[in-house]
């Protein structure tokens, strides 16, 4: 018996060593942790239950039958984060460069199946050189199998990808279909084709970092939702994000004890809106001041900063926030911000996370680049996302809500449950100046007349009451009472039930 136990321990030891000490040291030298070390930090202490530790590849070509390493380059299993279940796979760069073989893919598919049937999120830690070239189409098939699982899992359990090393070619499409992608600065990159191929095909000279580093994907391409300094910080932040997310579409978002007062008033909000309507202010101040303990997990912070998206808690419960940011491009809606917010809204709706929308929007950005870029369809994504969302929706207009953008931003007309406005709100088709220029074109020569017309228009429409008279605004609230009012609004919506008509699926304008 003793011998048998020893054999087990031996096999485990060997599997845990992955590609061997030399490769582990090389991994460390690059400032990267190994696949198992990463899991240790991601999960609660000693909570990891590994699966398929002894899986080996079946390739016999190119001398591959001579090298067999237990686990085949990916560590899979489940564990807990703060006591809540999660499935994990972590690619092991020390084993065949973390390359994806048929069996490697099978291991990933197995935990994904378990995640779906047991209703727990799946987190993928990506660090892979790409396809196992020696396996040819078997490897490609493996990718496709994973892709298919990603598609099926989408909307069933939250899927989070953390890119902690290379992720190139076909490998990028699995993370691309998950809910969130996070990257580690300076040690991770993602691209469909690498710098060498780019050079051959297009003659562009570009480094891997420029082509697909964390900065590129968080600021330019919006592929990634955030970037962190190093492995340790990244894993700590994923634990933080995890605390906001429900386990699956069958569960409610989590609740956590909170030490903030749901009735807390903040009188500094009474002066948040500057007296000059053209002066910007920081919408994040409002987000921080109304959320529990000022805790805000921002998503896509560095992309399309004219709209802010992220998670807060109200009375310990997760709420998704979408807010126009007057500090950037006056908070205008454009192609990028519409796409960013639409995706976020759909995530929240898929997982029953209530949505708070803070509105200060001067309209859609005009111009040829926007029209040629298809702002019509991209803007429609956000409109569609809000319109189909059945989760509790509370909207607060702080200042401008002009034109079509007013409709889009979770207006009453898109089934907003509570539509509040501050007294500083201006809800109109457009700003007074623009409106007067259209309405009184023949008087444009007369400066005095136009000035008076502008004043009249402002008086009539630069307030929330015209909309409130029609019931489009449920109540005009004092800024200092915002937290209290919004907490109570969401509290009243805890039992909300709303169903869209049956359909196979909708046809959002992609």
């Amino acid at each position: 018996m003793n011998e048998i136990l020893k054999e087990l321990e031996n096999r485990r030891q060997q599997a845990r060593l992955g590609g061997g000490q030399a490769r582990i040291d090389a991994q460390h030298k690059k400032g990267k942790l190994t696949a198992r070390e990463r899991i240790e930090l991601l999960l609660d202490n000693e909570s990891f239950e590994e699966l398929d530790m002894y899986v080996k590849h079946r390739c016999v070509d190119f001398g591959m039958d001579q090298t067999q390493i237990s686990g085949d380059g990916v560590v899979t299993g489940w564990g807990t984060i703060n006591g809540r279940q999660v499935y994990v796979y972590s690619q092991d760069f020390t084993v065949f460069g973390g390359s994806l073989s048929e069996t490697h893919a099978q291991k990933i598919c197995k935990v994904m199946d378990m995640a779906m049937s047991n209703g727990a999120p799946i987190i993928g830690l990506n660090d892979s050189g790409g396809a196992r070239i020696q396996e040819g189409v078997a490897s490609l098939a493996g990718y496709a199998d994973v892709f298919q699982k990603n598609v099926l899992a989408s909307g069933v359990v939250p899927q989070i990808s953390v890119i902690m090393g290379p992720c190139a070619g076909g490998a990028v499409y699995s993370p691309a279909m998950t809910d969130f992608i996070f990257m580690v600065r300076d040690s991770s990159y993602m691209f469909v084709t690498g710098p060498d191929v780019v050079k051959t095909v297009t003659n562009e000279v570009v480094t891997a970092e420029e082509l697909g580093g964390a900065k590129t994907h968080t600021t330019k391409s919006s592929v990634a939702d955030g970037a962190f300094e190093n492995d340790i910080e990244a894993l700590e932040q994923i634990r933080r994000l995890f605390d906001f997310l429900p386990l699956s579409n069958r569960e409610r978002p989590p609740e956590r004890p909170f030490f903030d007062d749901a009735r807390r008033e903040d009188h500094s909000l009474d002066t948040l809106i500057p007296n000059n309507p053209n002066q910007p202010y920081d919408m994040k101040e409002l987000i921080l001041k109304l959320s529990d303990e000022s805790d805000f997990f921002e998503v896509q912070e560095d992309f399309a900063a004219n709209i802010v998206t992220g998670f807060i808690r109200l009375e310990g419960r997760t709420v998704g926030v979408v807010a126009n940011q007057p500090l950037v491009l006056a908070g205008v809606l454009d192609i990028d911000s519409s796409r960013k917010a639409a995706r976020f809204v759909r995530f929240c709706d898929a997982f029953e996370i209530p949505i708070l929308t803070l509105v200060d929007v001067p309209g859609f950005l005009p111009g040829t680049s926007q029209e040629y870029g298809g702002v019509i369809k991209h803007g429609a994504k956000l409109l569609f996302a809000y319109g189909e969302a059945t989760v509790p929706k509370v909207t607060l207009i702080t200042r401008k809500a002009y034109g079509g953008a007013y409709d889009v931003m979770a207006s009453k007309h898109l089934r907003g449950d509570f539509n509040y406005a501050w007294p500083t709100a201006e809800i109109a088709v457009m700003g007074a100046k623009g409106a007067v220029e259209i309405l009184y074109r023949q008087e444009l020569g007369d400066k005095k007349k136009i000035e008076k017309r502008t004043k009249d228009y402002e008086k009539r429409f630069a307030n929330p009451f015209v909309a409130a008279e029609r019931g489009f605004i449920d109540e005009v609230i004092a800024p200092h009472s915002t937290r209290k009012r919004i907490c109570r609004a969401f509290a009243s919506l805890r039992g909300k039930q709303l169903k869209n008509p049956w359909k196979k699926h909708d046809n959002i304008p992609l």
């Binding site: 942790l33 609660d44 909570s47 006591g83 492995d231 910080e233 569960e251 956590r256 909170f258 948040l272």
Partner: protein
């Protein structure tokens, strides 16, 4: 008594005057510019009158506008506060003509004392000792250099009408004399509309000590002892105290008597201040007389128990002073810290914007302890580019200086201020400075003790250890709360670790925590143990933590994996990791900060006045590159080192944001 007074000022001083007026049952009128619509002084006053655009020269210092506000509100008297029109004789005269009482000295006294040259001559005549200098008017830069040489460097170049550090420059050589003269003249023109400049010997190692006087209209003049105002930066007072730790009774009495003599010589009435330079042998020289209420008057009020503003109002009404010299005592010790919107980490450059958080310590008026905070702002107000960047005057009082310093230090640690850069960390660091604690200070204190500007204070390792203990206990609370989340797997929940490694200030502390109902026992690797108790909960931004018998007051900001902590002038990133995280962190690479030395970035929001160099030019270390105006101050930006200008990104007249690149070097 007056029925209604108008306060021709803004900010904390307007609020402070309104307080006393209210106490006396007098109605108050505030005036405000466009940007001050929502200001605190407007809210506090019974009425408010709008007087124009934001720039002071279109509102607060326009005599006609104040006059019409007085008429409109039917006020009987005007209190000018300090700055603005407080020492403008034309204003005082204009009020006299309209039969409105000016709560301040007669215009004649303002005129005489307002002119630094005339005032010196008069002081000399009245038997007050004075500093050597040139008392005539100076025509141009050349003359300035000549005169400076005659007096001998270093010299002080001053705007004749100046005050508050504006239009003042110290020059140590011809080049600086030239430049200083130019800058002073410009600032004088812009700020006071009077470009007369004079030059005097700059007394090195001096202390700045001033005497507060009160004089009624019936011939009685008394002095309320001294204030020590040596802690200055760029000739702007930062910390004041009363009494001075330096004066003896004899010197105090002599200074007081001379001050009263001077006041009498100009038939002074109301409150006034006579400023002296005192050298290390307690020789004192007359500097100037301020014919107004001083910013730092609260310290005098705290040690004498006399409300100076109330006395000013009573004197203006014509009452006799109810106190005599023999009634004036020194009771305990008072310190004032001026909290400015100036970023000490950016060489104290002005910072403007919205105050997103403003939570001063609670005011206390106990038998043994006073905390007083005079302010003109509130959470959510705006620090504008147009006015003085002072946010508050925090004062502490106690029986002894040591105790007053301690109260101040604690109060600074409790003072929450966010949204703008401010000097609280710097003030805290002064409270811990050995020389300051001893009272061994001169007006060069800041230059000497902070030669390379202010940097976050380095705390000693025993203090760091205490902070580590406190933070680990706090962090544990966070982690325990996380495990109380819904959706857990029953019976497989997380057990929060008791062993942590806390990293801060270059130290790593191995910590073992044992928590009970009232606190935690924190054991260190060296087996030493401390008890930590606190009622802090996650989300609180101030943590008062009892560590053994000592109390730490920290501002805490939760960040992922730890806290950002501010206390005692020190900013600390406290990282808290479990054993495994700590072990693995050794593999993380240290990242190199991007090199910013090749850029001249704008240190504050402001306007580029001029650029003194051109592209391709080689510049020497210390050479003037450009001038940025912010808060009415001209800030000369110089080259840190020798280099060649590669590119100039902005033009004169353009407004600049913080960190905007002005010049790129090769």
């Amino acid at each position: 008594m007056f029925n209604k007074i108008l306060i021709a000022n803004r900010g904390e001083i307007a609020c402070r005057i309104i307080k006393t007026a209210k106490k006396m049952g007098i109605k108050t009128v505030a005036v405000y510019s466009d940007t001050d619509v929502d200001a605190l002084h407007v809210k506090m006053a019974d009425e408010a009158v709008h007087i124009g655009a934001a720039p002071a020269n279109q509102s607060y210092i326009v005599i006609d506008k104040i006059l019409s506000a007085v008429k409109k509100s039917k006020a009987d008297a005007v209190h000018p506060g300090y700055g603005f029109l407080s020492e403008n004789k034309m204003f005082a005269e204009a009020l006299e003509r309209e039969n409105i009482v000016f709560i301040g000295p007669p215009s004649g006294a303002i005129e005489t004392m307002g002119d630094k040259i005339t005032s010196k001559k008069l002081a000399k005549k009245a038997g007050v000792s004075t500093v050597p200098g040139y008392l005539g008017l100076i025509e141009d830069e050349e003359a300035a250099v000549k005169i400076s040489n005659k007096i001998g460097y270093p010299v002080m170049i001053k705007a004749s009408a100046g005050g508050g550090g504006k239009g003042m420059r110290v020059a140590w050589n011809d080049q600086e004399a030239q430049q200083g003269f130019k800058s002073s003249k410009n600032e004088a023109t812009n700020s006071f509309g009077d470009d007369r400049i004079f030059i005097e010997k700059y007394v090195t190692k001096p202390r700045h000590i001033e005497i507060q006087i009160l004089a009624d209209k019936h011939g009685k003049t008394i002095y309320l002892n001294e204030r020590e105002c040596s802690i200055q930066r760029r000739n702007q007072k930062v910390i004041e105290e009363a009494p001075s730790p330096f004066l003896d009774d004899k010197t105090r009495e002599e200074m007081g008597k001379q001050s009263c003599a001077l006041a009498k010589a100009v038939s002074y009435t109301s409150a006034g201040t006579v400023e002296f330079i005192v050298d290390e042998n307690r020789n004192f020289y007359f500097l100037e007389m301020n014919t107004r209420l001083q910013v730092e008057h609260p310290v005098t009020e705290l040690i004498t128990g006399i409300d100076i503003v109330e006395n000013m109002i009573r004197i203006a009404w014509g009452e006799k002073l109810s106190i005599s010299q023999k009634d004036v005592h020194i009771n305990g010790w008072a310190i004032e810290s001026r909290i400015y919107a100036e970023d000490p980490f950016r060489n104290f450059l002005p910072s403007i914007g919205r105050i997103t958080r403003y939570r001063p310590p609670d005011e206390r008026f106990d038998q043994a302890l006073i905390v007083r905070n005079d302010t003109g702002v509130f959470e959510g107000s705006e620090i504008s580019i147009h006015y003085d960047p002072m946010i508050a005057k925090l004062c502490s009082w106690a029986k002894s200086r040591t105790e007053a310093l301690r109260v101040m230090s604690d109060s600074l640690d409790e003072f929450e201020l966010d949204g703008i850069g401010h000097n609280i960390p710097f003030l805290s660091s002064v409270m811990r400075n050995k020389k300051f604690i001893k009272g061994d200070i001169t007006t060069a204190f800041i230059e000497e003790e902070f030669p390379d500007g202010f940097k976050s204070v380095k705390l000693d390792s025993s203090l760091l250890k205490s902070i580590a203990a406190a933070c680990s206990a706090m962090y544990r609370l966070f982690e325990i709360r996380r495990t109380r989340i819904t959706g857990r797997m029953d019976n497989h929940t997380r057990v929060v670790e008791n062993d942590w490694v806390v990293s801060l200030g270059g130290h790593n502390f191995d910590i073992n925590l044992k928590a009970d109902k009232t606190g935690s026992m924190v054991k260190f690797l060296d087996k030493s143990t401390v008890r930590v108790e606190s009622n802090w909960v996650p989300g609180d931004s101030i943590a008062k933590v009892k560590i053994e018998d000592k109390i730490l007051i920290m501002k805490v900001n939760k960040v992922t994996g730890g806290f950002r902590v501010r206390l005692l002038g020190s900013d600390l990133d406290v990282l808290i990791r479990n054993k495994r995280q700590f072990e693995l962190s050794s593999h993380m690479l240290r990242k190199i900060e991007p090199d910013m030395t090749k850029f001249l970035v704008c240190p504050m929001p402001g306007m580029l006045i001029k650029v003194d160099v051109s592209e391709g030019e080689e510049v020497q270390e210390g050479q003037t590159l450009c001038v940025v105006e912010a808060m009415k101050m001209e800030n000369v930006l110089r080259a840190d080192k020798k280099g060649v200008i590669k590119k100039i990104n902005v033009e004169a007249g353009q407004s600049l944001a913080v960190d905007e690149v002005i010049i790129e070097f090769e």
